[in-house]
Subunit: 351 residues, 3 copies
């Protein structure tokens, strides 16, 4: 099992999921209650009543203004976690207080900070396309019944597109084209690039861009361990000029594929996925095509990773894997995750 | 997990459930076979054939007169547990004998004794209303996927009615009104009383009694640890005279709410519930209303306690609860259960 | 739990199940991939890609000629298990190789060898009736959620037919008639015989043979531990001459009941069952009757053994069984299995 990395921001929900209904999510094994105050601020509290541990996200718990009322015995909490009412007596015990979770809304995500330290000035990594007016985005979340490390492996090695996602986003060139990998240990970023100069155009891009014929296709991965994965995808007909020195690239199509990778329990993971494009911004048909198509692709991963987890669950201890060049990025990610996990373990915090 | 208390009577079934079909129930982890002889006596035997441990309550095991025939190889047992026939030979091994369970039928329940000692003269506690001609009763049983201690906690603290059962039996006054608690350690009885002098009448009582307007509402709990819970409920329009010195109380409505709390396994419980009333005895509409309404209330508890058990299953060891005044009865019950469990453990028996 | 016996042949599938679709079966806890080459040879390989342990039997893994292509990243293997292609590079690591399983097709079964040693000249035991032109066979496979030892117990003691399979193959005489048992420790064969000279004819035989009235019924069991069970069943009207000295027996009906007993995991078993008859060879109605009737009988066993396993799962350690004469064969089988398991354990192999 891939160790959890504490003292980090994780995507707990999309902003549109957090509202005036109580929402429960479990992040790194911690049950978290999410809701929005009447003036629109997202709140994160421990999702267990201090009295008898009833989940505050469970029916019939409810909001009363900005306060949360436990559905079992009516213990009532403010947004600061402090209990303000208990049944049958006027005195509220001083220790009646829920843990609070730092929350940041950014780029359409609600991020929560999980850790022993405070985040201080640390902000979550960025995915600005997701709520930019220059992009149109489709998104969703699918739970995976597997270790989050399996999703990290999956996304760092896109050669699997050719096999698992053939007919959607995979073509032979993805698996055939070598990658380059750069590891920034200090920033905990792994970059994996695959530039295909003359490749088949898979349906996902042919149907959304209208390109007929072969393409140059660039996949530039930027994994901000542990929680955010970006895939900068550039697609253009063969012969299209390269991006200009000023960075502009008016003749190519750009898709920003974003994953929030959120470990829930040791063997379950929230897979937040988003696809932002800089073309056909108002074309609803393209929007629906990409939503449906990418959902299919994500479900292919979910089914495969669930099967893989079940297979690993029956492996004898000490089983072996065999890694090759395509795994350079994934192995670097594993090393960074192991280091970050060790540095941020409760034991490390205690020293 | 709440320890099991051995050397006690537990409700294994309603009398009407025990007949000429074989019935299997697991009480304190012990699988028990229940049936009724041709002349109407309830029998309790170990529910595992001595041969290969096949459950005698499982199809196609069957009764042959008063004898039980195992559905696998035909080992046949009398009501005393003694094996009287085995296949392929005339000699029956002397040791072929099922454990028997003392059984008492009382107050519409079939009680079984679980323990190392014999019950002697000890009888189960009483709930005479359930088969009294002066009361009309509705009842049922719902399994809970949770520790029986969660149900004890639930029933000893009725402030939860306001929140979990709002719109059925809960009103604001239940949570607001302080309780008085009396603990009889010797008899292992906990009494919790809440007398509301001027309270809203919840639909459960308004619709069954026809009272319009506010009520005095008394809740007098009597918990006979570990297995029987009684709630003496008195409801009357505000201004109704108090009960007379001789105990009669002709102007009020009385409901006796009875729970048989039967631990099945470490994380499952049989919740036997009954509601007996002393008014509108022959009014079928009231009967059906109370049956349906109380079933809804019980299921609200079941859903909440199942959720609570799942939440507790993921708690880290050493998690904390916070108790307040309303928990006085529940905490007393826990202490009594812990003491009884220790006094009656197999280890204690061995000393 | 009954220990696994390694260095043995086990039925992994029927020949007709192994074709150009990838088939996954787990035998003695080992995941095995089965398929057939273009020229018809059955192949058995480890069902886990060496790269990231993805199951090769899982969609979208596929055959490419005689090679298996992993559905996750395209690792490609020949029938000898050697990897011949990996994504993104031309060099294939030398160690990229799947374990292969010796496979024999015999008597309509695909047998695989599970063990540390090679099978050498050892062949699986025979059940020649299953693909003989002188017999007509119906067959199937049902998974049991139980220890394979429960199925061995079940089949070695047919007195259960009277109780579990009454109305199908059981009559009172089966349970009443004593057995004779012979144990050949060296060959690991247990023989149990029950000859009923004057017995009721159960529907299974009455409807298939057309016999009206009472029968002589012989049941001669031959259990080749651990994997193959044969029941030679002879049925004839009372008064029919005995088999002739030369072994021919033209006036009786013969049914060969064959079970492949294949442990899958510690608590799951493949129950391969077949019924071959030497009469009414072309009578489709008899064929369908026997298929349906025997499937019902097998499912009665499956339901009972699943229930038995669940019951045993909750037994306290050290629970007792009580054995009688009918268990002689089953107990002998257990002893042989325990000895074979010990002799063939990985620890024994290491000495």
């Amino acid at each position: 099992m891939t160790a959890f990395v504490r003292n980090q921001w994780y995507v707990a929900a999309y902003a549109h999921e957090v509202g005036r209904e109580l929402l429960g999510r479990t992040v790194l094994g911690e049950p978290i209650l999410l809701y929005r105050t009447e003036d629109g601020r997202a709140v994160g509290l421990a999702d267990r009543c201090v009295h008898r541990r009833f989940p505050l996200s469970e029916h019939p718990s409810r909001l009363e203004g900005d306060k949360v009322v436990c559905g079992y015995h009516g213990f009532t909490y403010g947004t600061d976690g402090v209990c303000v009412r208990v049944p049958g007596q006027t005195r509220v015990p001083r220790t009646a207080r829920l843990a609070t979770y730092p929350v940041v809304e950014q780029d359409s995500f609600v991020w929560v900070w999980i850790g022993d330290r405070e985040p201080g000035d640390t902000l979550p990594p960025r995915a600005p396309w997701l709520d930019s007016p220059h992009y149109t985005t489709v998104c969703g979340m699918e739970p995976i019944e597997g270790d989050y490390g399996l999703l990290v492996d999956n996304l760092l090695d896109l050669s699997h597109e050719t096999y698992l996602h053939g007919g959607y986003i995979g073509t032979p060139e993805v698996a055939e084209t070598p990658i380059t990998t750069e590891v920034d240990d200090k920033s905990a970023i792994v970059r994996v690039s695959r530039h295909m100069d003359d490749a088949e155009c898979p349906p996902f891009y042919a149907n959304s861009t209208g390109i007929q014929g072969r393409i140059t296709r660039w996949q530039d991965i930027e994994y901000h361990a542990p929680a955010l994965y970006l895939l900068h995808s550039r697609v253009a007909p063969v012969g299209t000029p390269a991006p200009r020195p000023d960075g502009s690239d008016p003749d190519a199509f750009h898709v920003e594929v974003v994953y929030g990778i959120t470990p829930s329990t040791e063997k379950s993971t929230y897979d937040f996925w988003a696809v932002a494009r800089d073309f056909a911004l108002d074309d609803q048909e393209v929007t629906e095509y990409l939503r449906s198509s990418n959902h299919t692709v994500v479900m292919q991963d979910v089914v495969a990773l669930n099967a893989l987890q079940r297979a690993l669950d029956t492996e004898k201890p000490g089983y072996q894997e065999l890694s090759i060049n395509i795994d350079t990025g994934g192995l670097a990610a594993r090393r960074i995750l192991a280091r970050l996990a060790a540095e941020n373990s409760p034991q490390a915090a205690a020293r």
